[in-house]
Structure formats: structure tokens, C-alpha cells
Symmetry: C2
Subunit: 144 residues, 2 copies
DNA sequence: CTTATTTAAGACAAATTTATCCTAAATAAA
DNA sequence: TTTATTTAGGATAAATTTGTCTTAAATAAG
């Protein structure tokens, strides 16, 4: 479904939201430990999230990654997915014809479109704040 | 979503269904041309479909790949997907935790489960015969 | 039985994704 | 300003997926 990079990116963003709520910044080491991911690879993914303005980085002592407090509630799953995997999951799908449209669809188009749209809606409607809240309350987990 | 191999496998199976309806066998060359895929790689995928008993192979002169006529209507998208990509798409998902269950879910579990189940249902309910019929009627296409 | 034909299988190669490592650039503290 | 700290970026490596090629095995026709 998602690339490994995207999975790490989503988990990392949830953790950063969690920490940003407390007004704290986090570094790649801490993040990788928390989400059980390879540290250097995670750092690369964080760079991509910064470039796409999903998260913010601060260099130097006491630096790290964070999210603007008043922006936290606006970030959706789709933002992280788009930053890392692009939007192929939103428009490309099924049998991956080179140039497909409603008038020249692949055989699974009608069946597939509904699933793809449901996925798209879910990703665009689910906020990281909501996901982070469930971690905090112990309803869900970032590793194991 | 699906691997390239799985995409080719699905298209190939649709084409084989189409030909089997006419009582004809097809070889990898013909299949690859029809679905616009690399021939040798497609041959490998056909082997996997044979091993998983989705299609049947006949060696020697006038040999090729086919599907038992009375079995055609029973084959579902899920059969080909399982044969090639395994069942990770049916149970693994979301953030890919190592050992996840309802009691120890990842943060996206609740959101994700619905999509995954919808996908699973679609794959298990859609028959290749139905897809092949749409090709035949010109409602959908295998390439371009 | 012999031969031509076709799939099966395994070794190999290319491309992509995942992951690591080292150095540069930025920044804040002292 | 100097130094310590931290992210950014590029080179490299490992693993996986995608793709090719050659030979073996099976089978039907003649
Ligand atoms: S035709 Fe429809 S289902 Fe098939 S690849 Fe294009 S958008 Fe996806
Ligand atoms: S969505 Fe549910 S089943 Fe999928 S990885 Fe997360 S916890 Fe596991």
C-alpha cells in the first residue's frame, strides 16, 4: 500500500505532533527509537517532510523537528503521504495503464475507483492530531 | 497498490479467460504483446499462476496457457492477487506493525480497516469472467 | 522413436527502494 | 567570534523487485 518510507514518515509525524503539543522538539535519533525505524533513513524522510512543509526543522543546539502549534490541527494524513509517495495513490491505481481515463479505462476501473476514492477521502479527512490523541490515550501504538 | 508482477498477472489472466472462452490456448509471446508487458517476466508470472492453480499450462506443440472452461466463472481477482502478491494486501496494511491486532493497533487501524475490507471484498467478489466480458464489449481495455 | 515445440527453472542483470555514512551548512550558546 | 550541536545533502551500499537469457523437461506430432 504505502512505501516503507511513507510508513516511517506517518509514524514520525504522529510522534512529532505529540511532542509539539508539549512544546518540545525532537531529533531523528529519538524519533527512530520511538517508531522503531532505521535512524539515517528516517532522517532522510524527515528532510522530505520539511521540504514539503509538513514539519519544520530547527538547526543548532536545542534544535530538532517540530510543527507550528497553530498548524497542528490542520495537517492530514494525505499531506505526509503526498510528501513522500507523491500522489500516485490518489490517481494512479489498479492495473496502472499509461494513459487511462473514464473513456479508456482498464478492466478493473469501475471496481477500483470506489476503493481509491474511499482511501483518498480517508487520508484527506484524518488529521494527525486525531491520531496522536489516540496514542496519548493508549488506544493505539507506534511500535510492536 | 499491487506489484508490477501482479498487474501483469491480472491482465494476463483476463486475456487467457477471453481466449479460453473461444477454446484457444495462448503462449507468453502473444500474452505479452496483448497486455504490453515484458515477455520473459510475464512467463515467470504465468508459472506462478500455474503453481497456484489459477491457470493451466500445456506443453508441446499446440500447447500454451488456458483455463478449464467450467472453472472460468469461479476465478476471482483475489485468486490471482494471492498467487502473486500473497495475502499481505488482505491482512497486512497501514503502518505495517510487526504484530498488530485489534487490541494493539497502530494509529491508523480504525480508519484503515474499512478500506482494506472493502478492497478485500471487491477482490473476492469480482470474477475474471466479468472483467473479460467488459473487454469483449469494448467497455474497457488491456493496454494504452 | 525421433523431432519440433512449448512451458519450467535457474542463473544472471538492471532498476528501484531501503538503508548507511561522511561532510557541509546553519545556528545558538558561551 | 569560537565552538558545540544539529539538520541538510551527497556518495555509497544492501536488499528487493523487475526483467533477461540460457538450458532442461515435457509433450504432441510425424
Ligand atoms: S483505468 Fe481506472 S482503475 Fe485502471 S489504472 Fe486507470 S484510473 Fe486506475
Ligand atoms: S491498520 Fe490495523 S492491521 Fe493494519 S498495520 Fe495498523 S494495526 Fe495492523
Amino acid at each position: 500500500m504505502f512505501s516503507k518510507a511513507c510508513e516511517y514518515g506517518i509514524k514520525a509525524t504522529i510522534f512529532i505532533v505529540l511532542k509539539s503539543h508539549e512544546g518540545k522538539r525532537v531529533n531523528p535519533k529519538e524519533i527512530a527509537k520511538e517508531i522503531d525505524s532505521p535512524e539515517a533513513f528516517t532522517a532522510k524522510i524527515l528532510q522530505a517532510l520539511v521540504r514539503h512543509e509538513v514539519i519544520v526543522s530547527v538547526k543548532g543546539t536545542y534544535g530538532g523537528f517540530e510543527i507550528d502549534k497553530d498548524k497542528i490541527s490542520t495537517i492530514k494524513l494525505a499531506d505526509a503521504v503526498r510528501a513522500i509517495d507523491g500522489d500516485s495513490i490518489f490517481n494512479g491505481c489498479g492495473l496502472g495503464l499509461k494513459s487511462c481515463d473514464e473513456d479508456h479505462p482498464c478492466p478493473v476501473h469501475d471496481k477500483f475507483k470506489d476503493i481509491r476514492d474511499a482511501l483518498k477521502n480517508m487520508l484527506e479527512q484524518t488529521s494527525f492530531e486525531e491520531l496522536a490523541f489516540n496514542i496519548k490515550s493508549g488506544a493505539s501504538f507506534l511500535k510492536l
